[in-house]
Every structure is written in structure tokens, then in C-alpha cells.
């Protein structure tokens, strides 16, 4: 009895429902936000995402799939935008001084609770990965309460501030989820196998170094073209990393996967497509050469990319 209550409360599903409720609250506030020129579209976007979060484990998959199409259509039609967020401007600076470094307490609570949950789950003989995710949810909740007590604010301004950050990021929030889904559909359609075949025609399947090189080069090139290493990863993972390196050579998948991802980050340093990181800062700093940041980063990026190739190859060799 006790254990079943425990495992229901401290489960991933409970955290998903909690996040869903937060999203539903954001949605209701957006519907009521007259300062948002697209409050109906934006409201429906966050409402639908909230429903998927809260009920995703029990809804039939076809319904979730249709709701995802609805989300993307709303965003595609430009119906999702930011609202107005009038905070109470009551002496922010004064409060900042009064709280001092204590303002870091709620923010630090998030990683501490996450880590604690992972340790407790492992100690109880359960999955530590799941523990970290459940901990992230309860860390967020702990931080909310800590923040409310510390700042003596009300729940309404708490949610309004959350909504402000959420809307500042916007519909792009769901991009990692969509990209992972794209990877799954690529696999179902046999795209990964196809890319793997193509590479095998050029590179002998037993030449580990060339395969590692193709893996890291593909990751960097896709990232340079798309401006986003998160978008490149599912393609490279399904087409190269898993079928040609991890499975045939029996490689530690965690090691190979994370090194492949950051091989993509080296690509991000070199591309104007990652405008947020390379072009916008040049404008913010009034640089004469809009590619000045990329030029500065280029030798660093090429060196650390080569390091990825060598490190991945060496770690596979010695294991």
C-alpha cells in the first residue's frame, strides 16, 4: 500500500501531469491576456501541449499525433506569439539588495533535488535515469515554493513569470520532442538503413577510424547547414552512429553518443546559420564584420572537432 502510493507520487507520470497543469495555467492566463495580439492561437497552443503532457500516457497515440499536427499548424500559421507581462514594478532593485545571494537558493534547489532523487532511486534499486527526471520535476516544484516563501510573492505572479519565460522561448520549446519523433519515423521508414548503406559503399565496414571520421564530419556538416546540432543528431544517430559504429563494434553507446553531439557543437561555432550565437552577438556588439565572431571561433572549432574524432576513435580502441 505505502509502496504503491510512493511509486505513484514519485513517478515520471506524476511529473508529466504536474508539468501539464503548469502549462494549462499558462494557457488560461494567455487566453485572458488582452496584451497578446494572438491570444487565442497562443492559448490553444499551450493548452494543447498541456493536455498532451497531462494525458499523453493514457490517450490513444493517434489522438496525440493529431494534436501534434494541430500544434504545428498553429505555429506554422504564425498564431503563436508573446503576451504582455506587467509585473509589479515595486522596488525591484531594493528587493535584489535585500535578498542578496539568497536569491540563488531556489535556483540551486533544482539541481540539488534532481541529484538527490537520482541517488535515492539508485539506493532503492530503481532506475537512476528515471530518478533524475522525476527529480527535475520535484526540483522545479521545490524551487517554486522556495521562491514564493523567499520573495513573499503570490502564486499568480509566480505563474505569470513562468509564462513570461515560456512565451519568450515560444513554440520552439517543443522542437527537441519533434526532432526525436522525426528520428523515430526515419527509422520506421528505413532512412537510417539507407544512409548506412550509402556510407558502407564508400567506407569499408571494418575501418573504424574512417567510420568515426564520417560520423563526426557528417554531424558537423549537417549542423553547419541546418544551424542546429539537435536537428543533425537524429539523422546521424540513425544513419551512421548506431548501425555502423555502436552495434558492429560493441561500443559504449553513452560515450559515442555524447561525443557525436558535441562534434556537432563544433559545427555550430562555424556557421552563420546559428544566428542567435554567431550573428546576433556581432550586431549586439556593433562589430564592423558580421562574421567577426565566426572568424575568431574558427581555429578553436576546427581544433576541438579534430579532438572529437581522435578521442572517439581512441576510446573505442582502448575499450
Amino acid at each position: 500500500m505505502m509502496t504503491s502510493i510512493f511509486s505513484a507520487v514519485f513517478s515520471l507520470d506524476a511529473v508529466y501531469v504536474l508539468t501539464g497543469v503548469v502549462l494549462l495555467i499558462f494557457a488560461l492566463m494567455t487566453f485572458a491576456d488582452r496584451g497578446n495580439p494572438r491570444r487565442v492561437g497562443s492559448g490553444f497552443f499551450w493548452f494543447t501541449l498541456g493536455i498532451i503532457f497531462a494525458l499523453g500516457s493514457v490517450m490513444p497515440h493517434w489522438l496525440t499525433g493529431l494534436l501534434v499536427l494541430f500544434l504545428v499548424t498553429l505555429d506554422g500559421l504564425g498564431r503563436v506569439s508573446r503576451g504582455s507581462h506587467q509585473p509589479d514594478q515595486s522596488s525591484q532593485a531594493g528587493r535584489a539588495k535585500a535578498l542578496g545571494n539568497r536569491i540563488f537558493i531556489p535556483v540551486l534547489a533544482i539541481p540539488i533535488v534532481t541529484f538527490a532523487f537520482a541517488l535515492i532511486f539508485r539506493w532503492l534499486g530503481m532506475d537512476a535515469n528515471r530518478g533524475a527526471l522525476v527529480g527535475l520535476g520535484f526540483g522545479g516544484l521545490t524551487a517554486m515554493f522556495a521562491c514564493l516563501i523567499l520573495t513573499r510573492s503570490d502564486a499568480r505572479s509566480l505563474m505569470n513569470e513562468g509564462r513570461r519565460l515560456n512565451e519568450a522561448m515560444g513554440a520552439v520549446n517543443i522542437l527537441p520532442q519533434l526532432l526525436a519523433s522525426l528520428g523515430v519515423i526515419f527509422t520506421a521508414a528505413g532512412v537510417g538503413a539507407l544512409i548506412a548503406q550509402g556510407i558502407q559503399q564508400i567506407i569499408p565496414a571494418n575501418n573504424l577510424f574512417l567510420l568515426v571520421l564520417a560520423n563526426c564530419l557528417g554531424m558537423a556538416l549537417f549542423t553547419i547547414v541546418m544551424g542546429n546540432s539537435f536537428a543533425a543528431f537524429p539523422v546521424i544517430a540513425t544513419g551512421v552512429l548506431v548501425p555502423l559504429i555502436i552495434k558492429p563494434f560493441g561500443v559504449d553507446p553513452a560515450m559515442a553518443a555524447i561525443i557525436t553531439l558535441t562534434a556537432g557543437s563544433s559545427g555550430t561555432l562555424m556557421t552563420p546559420m546559428a544566428a542567435n550565437f554567431n550573428i546576433v552577438p556581432a550586431a549586439l556588439l556593433n562589430m564592423r564584420d558580421q562574421y567577426g565572431v565566426i572568424k575568431f571561433q574558427l581555429p578553436f572549432a576546427l581544433t576541438i572537432w579534430s579532438f572529437h574524432v581522435v578521442l572517439l576513435w581512441l576510446l573505442i580502441k582502448i575499450s
Partner: protein, 289 residues
């Protein structure tokens, strides 16, 4: 390779071209998924229940694209769990989180431009370790790190006072300089685009331009490589979810563990590059004298 196989790559092409053309990212990704499934001959819906009666939409024994999309999206909700941390972070920001972080940065007494960049990069790695995600260009680099770097350059004599102060004062600096993560476009709107600086020497040798580039680079180095140091970060969750979808289970803590050598390399490389920057700034100053 037959025609249908080639057509299957249409999805990859759609993603590459769509993102390169800066079309709406979410739409590009889902269209690519639908097209890939359709050219591979997959049905839209699974052959079950109500959908069995509909013509064309299902095929017996095959899972539908929409069903796969729904299942994958639901399975990967973990990647978007960070939304639950936003209310606390937002409220903390409203009560001076960023101002307090800025106070900490101001206490740095780095003797040279290069050392300041390294300390700032480490500060951003620390963010990654704590699971905080933000774009530091508008919130730290522009309002704090750039002026502090110019200050350090003046002390060590590598930036002529006139040029340095001019660059700062003529910048219509973004009034929302302590803006929050994700507010880049707004900051740009209130900032300004590249202007010509008549006092500057040839491109690439202007110390102020080099310093600006180094400021932005320190931010990117710290952000990109440091962010994988916490299992709650998007990159780790993406890798975890994608690998899970491919039938390969990885541990989030193992992902974090194996990113440590990469973070180490990024810091060492940055130390080398920023030391070189200090040396070349010093040479420029000598030439001017």
C-alpha cells in the same frame, strides 16, 4: 539504389533545405516526417478500430505515421520537462537573480582581457553544471563582459583610451540590457547594426574588434560545451530520447561523465587562444607607441 530509396531521402532534404531557408522549424520537421513516412509507403493511421472503415488511410499490419508521431512525441515529453522550472526561475529573475549574478561578475579582478574571458567562460560552464539555460549574449556579454574587457585592455595599455571610450559611448546600448533568456531579437531591435568606425585601423587588427569577437566566443565556448554537464539539460535529454527510440539505452549520468573530457579540452583550448589574444593585443599596443 532504387527510386523509392532515393525518395525516402526527401525527408532529410526537406529538413536541410527548410532550415537553411529559415522556414518555421516546427513545421519543416513535421512535414519532413510525414513525407518520409508516405514515400516509404507507410499508412497515415494504424489499421485498428474506427480507422479500419476508412479507405486509403490504413494498411493491415502496419503502424500509421500519425500513431508513430503521437507515441514518439508522448515518449519524449521528458525533453520538455524543463518548463516546470520556469516559474521559479522567472520569479527569481524578477527579484534580481541576474543583477545578483552580474554583481558576482563585477567582483572579478582579471588582470588581462584574455584572463577575463577565461573566467567568464568558466562562469558559463558553471551555469551548465547547475542546469540553468540562458543566452548570455544579451544578458552578460553586451552589458558587462564587453565594457569590463575594454577596461582591462586600457589598464594593460593595449586599447587606446579614445577608441575604447568612443566605442562604448556611441553604442546605443540596449536599454533592456539585463534582458532575459530568449529576448535576443528585442535586444537587437533596440541595439544597432554594424557601423563604420573611422578611427579603426585595417580590419582584423583593430584591438576593440578582436575583443568583441573574443567576448562572444567565450560565451559560446562556455555555453555549448558546459551545458551537457547536467542531466536536466536539453542536449542530454535529446540524446537519451533519440537513442531510446533507436532501441539503445544510455544512462543520463554516463552521458554527463563522458562529456567531461570534452569540457576539459574546450577550457584548455580557450586558455591557449585567449593567451594568444593577450599577446597580440600587447604587440598592437607596442606598435602604436
Amino acid at each position: 539504389m532504387n527510386i523509392q530509396d532515393l525518395l525516402k531521402l526527401a525527408g532529410v532534404a526537406i529538413v536541410v533545405i527548410g532550415l537553411a531557408l529559415r522556414l518555421r522549424t516546427t513545421l519543416v520537421v513535421v512535414v519532413a516526417a510525414l513525407v518520409t513516412g508516405l514515400v516509404a509507403g507507410l499508412p497515415l493511421f494504424s489499421h485498428e478500430g474506427f480507422f479500419q472503415q476508412l479507405p486509403y488511410l490504413t494498411k493491415p499490419g502496419q503502424t500509421g505515421i500519425i500513431n508513430t508521431l503521437g507515441r514518439a512525441f508522448a515518449d519524449n515529453r521528458l525533453m520538455t520537462l524543463f518548463i516546470i522550472t520556469l516559474p521559479a526561475i522567472g520569479l527569481a529573475e524578477r527579484h534580481g537573480l541576474q543583477e545578483q549574478a552580474a554583481n558576482l561578475i563585477r567582483k572579478i579582478h582579471a588582470a588581462t582581457v584574455g584572463r577575463l574571458q577565461i573566467v567568464y567562460q568558466l562562469f558559463r560552464v558553471l551555469h551548465g553544471l547547475m542546469g540553468i539555460r540562458l543566452n548570455g549574449h544579451p544578458s552578460f556579454v553586451r552589458p558587462l563582459i564587453f565594457p569590463m574587457s575594454v577596461g582591462a585592455a586600457q589598464v594593460s595599455g593595449s586599447a587606446p583610451r579614445a577608441v575604447a571610450s568612443r566605442s562604448i559611448t556611441t553604442d546605443p546600448s540596449p536599454d533592456n540590457s539585463l534582458a532575459t533568456a530568449g529576448s535576443v531579437p528585442r535586444a537587437v531591435a533596440s541595439g544597432s547594426i554594424t557601423t563604420d568606425n573611422p578611427l579603426a585601423t585595417a580590419r582584423g587588427t583593430d584591438p576593440i574588434e578582436r575583443i568583441k569577437a573574443a567576448n562572444a566566443a567565450a560565451e559560446n565556448y562556455g555555453n555549448f560545451y558546459g551545458q551537457n554537464l547536467s542531466p536536466v539539460q536539453a542536449g542530454i535529454l535529446l540524446v537519451y530520447g533519440v537513442m531510446q527510440g533507436l532501441g539503445v539505452t544510455v544512462g543520463v549520468w554516463d552521458l554527463v561523465k563522458y562529456t567531461i573530457p570534452i569540457v576539459g579540452a574546450s577550457i584548455i583550448l580557450a586558455i591557449i587562444q585567449f593567451s594568444w589574444l593577450d599577446r597580440s593585443l600587447g604587440k598592437m599596443a607596442e606598435v602604436k607607441r
